[in-house]
């Protein structure tokens, strides 16, 4: 099964608006959940000058906005459930 790709924006704006905490998402995943997921960081996704709310992330290419550790965790768990089904 292909890993679920989670990309977090490491740009300045996202970093100060919650992105720093978001980078700790790995600590919230169980060992089993970690095996399903590949987390990477991206340079500024260039989405901060529009209407959307930082911090920005992507899960399997789907854009996310204004997420925090807990909401992202739920999204990841949901995605894992869908993948194994």
């Amino acid at each position: 099964m292909e890993k679920i790709k989670v990309k977090l924006c490491a740009g300045t704006m996202c970093y100060v608006m919650g992105g720093a905490q978001l980078m700790e998402i790995n600590d919230l995943l169980s060992d089993e959940e970690k095996s399903f997921v590949e987390i990477s960081l991206s340079p500024c996704l260039q989405r901060c000058n529009g209407e959307e709310r930082p911090p920005f992330a992507e899960i399997n290419g789907k854009p996310l906005q204004g997420v925090n550790k807990e909401t992202l965790l739920q999204i990841i768990k949901e995605e894992i459930k869908n993948a194994v089904r």
Partner: protein
């Protein structure tokens, strides 16, 4: 392009247990004259009183020499101004002055210090000196030693306080201290590392002196090294160009630069990555909790985030780098300190989102921070710095 640079660095450690260093060092580059004046002084005793004496000495010496005052006049003014030590009843400090112009013409003035060392082609060179007697009411037989010579490319000039030359004194291996030993040490060091920087050499001498004293320095210990060298060039690019059409130009500047390169900013790095077709990967490792992580790109020595990192670099340069700290800003400071000629290319496209008053932290304007960094690098570290705005 200038092929020569005068690297000056001083490293100091306090006498074990003292909070304040009784030795003082000051170095200044007189920009319009292209002249560098460096002064090292050792105040009588150690601690605060010694620090006051040596601070007064370096400040006065610096000002008099910069104004081209006569050497004897300089020495007498210092001696007559210093406060008298209550116990010893003398007002005493040593000083060593280096006055070097842009062509390498050097004047050295020594007063009561261990003699300076001139190394050329890895060997210690004898310097002819003029001896000038100094008349003092409180002490007899003190002299100024004045020498003038040309500092050639690759020459190194070393001066140190007696914390270095007297280290190890009384021990079985070096009962008379390290007076001759330090010269042997330096000759061997230069053979091993002929390209060693002034900064590293000054560090090594002081740390070795500390080792001679069994890791508890018996006196304040300072060493200043001047190295006339080929400059180490560094390019720091930060910020996207105001005009997108200049992106290509910026990338080519990075590609063709002769020296080390730093990219400071994710957007900046993305532009270079795109134009030069080199992949950019962001590290997952957080090496400093206060800053976003580093990135990697082939051919680039350091890729960091932009404004947060630059602000921390300014702080580290101004306040000093705390021991055992690390991270992207530390890495950048190390590269800056180990370079001689630094070129900043600052993109002036402003990120409006950064100025949103709702942000939890205040983000400075990039060009202001870079300007402050330039000032610090020039005045405190004697670097040659240029800023180009794009």
């Amino acid at each position: 392009m200038d092929e020569v640079f005068i690297e000056v660095d001083c490293y100091q450690k306090n006498k074990a247990g003292n909070l304040v260093c009784g030795d003082s060092f000051m170095s200044q580059k007189l920009q319009d004259e292209g002249r560098i004046i460096s002064v090292l002084s050792d105040g009588l005793g150690s601690g605060i009183k010694a620090s006051v004496l040596s601070t007064m000495t370096v400040t006065m010496a610096m000002n008099y020499v910069a104004m081209n005052e006569s050497i004897l006049q300089t020495a007498m003014s210092i001696i007559n101004t210093l406060p008298q030590d209550m116990v010893r009843k003398i007002s005493y400090s040593t000083f060593c002055i280096f006055d070097i112009d842009c062509f390498g013409n050097t004047k050295v003035i020594e007063y009561e210090t261990p003699p300076v060392c001139l190394f050329r082609d890895g060997k210690l060179i004898d310097i002819p000196k003029e001896k000038i007697a100094v008349e003092r009411t409180d002490l007899e037989n003190t002299f100024l030693w004045v020498s003038e010579f040309k500092l050639e490319k690759e020459d190194r000039l070393v001066c140190y306080s007696d914390g270095v030359s007297q280290s190890g004194m009384g021990s079985s291996s070096m009962p008379f201290g390290w007076d001759e030993g330090v010269k042997t040490y330096l000759t061997a060091l230069l053979e091993e590392q002929p390209d060693i920087s002034a900064k590293e050499m000054a560090h090594k001498i002081v740390l070795r002196a500390e080792r001679n004293d069994n890791y508890r320095l018996l006196d304040d210990t300072s060493c200043c090294v001047v190295y006339r060298r080929t400059p180490r060039n560094l390019l720091v690019c930060t910020g996207p160009p105001y005009d997108e059409q200049k992106d290509r130009y910026l990338a080519e500047k990075v590609r063709d630069f002769q020296g080390k390169r730093i990219l400071c900013g994710g957007t900046t790095a993305s532009i270079i990555s795109r134009e030069l077709r080199r992949p950019l990967t962001v590290s997952l490792e957080i090496t400093d909790k206060e800053l976003p992580p580093l990135s990697y790109m082939e051919g680039i020595d350091l890729v960091t985030e932009g404004i947060l990192t630059l602000s921390k670099v300014e702080r580290l340069l101004a306040e000093g780098v705390p021991e055992r700290s690390h991270g992207p800003a530390n890495d950048m400071v190390t590269l800056l300190q180990n370079s001689d000629k630094i070129t900043f290319v600052v993109g002036t496209r402003i990120n409006v989102a950064h100025q949103d008053p709702n942000l939890p932290v205040e983000l400075e304007i990039r060009r202001n921070v870079v300007k402050k960094i330039k000032d610090l690098l020039e005045t405190k570290y004697l670097k040659d710095v240029e800023i180009i705005y794009l």
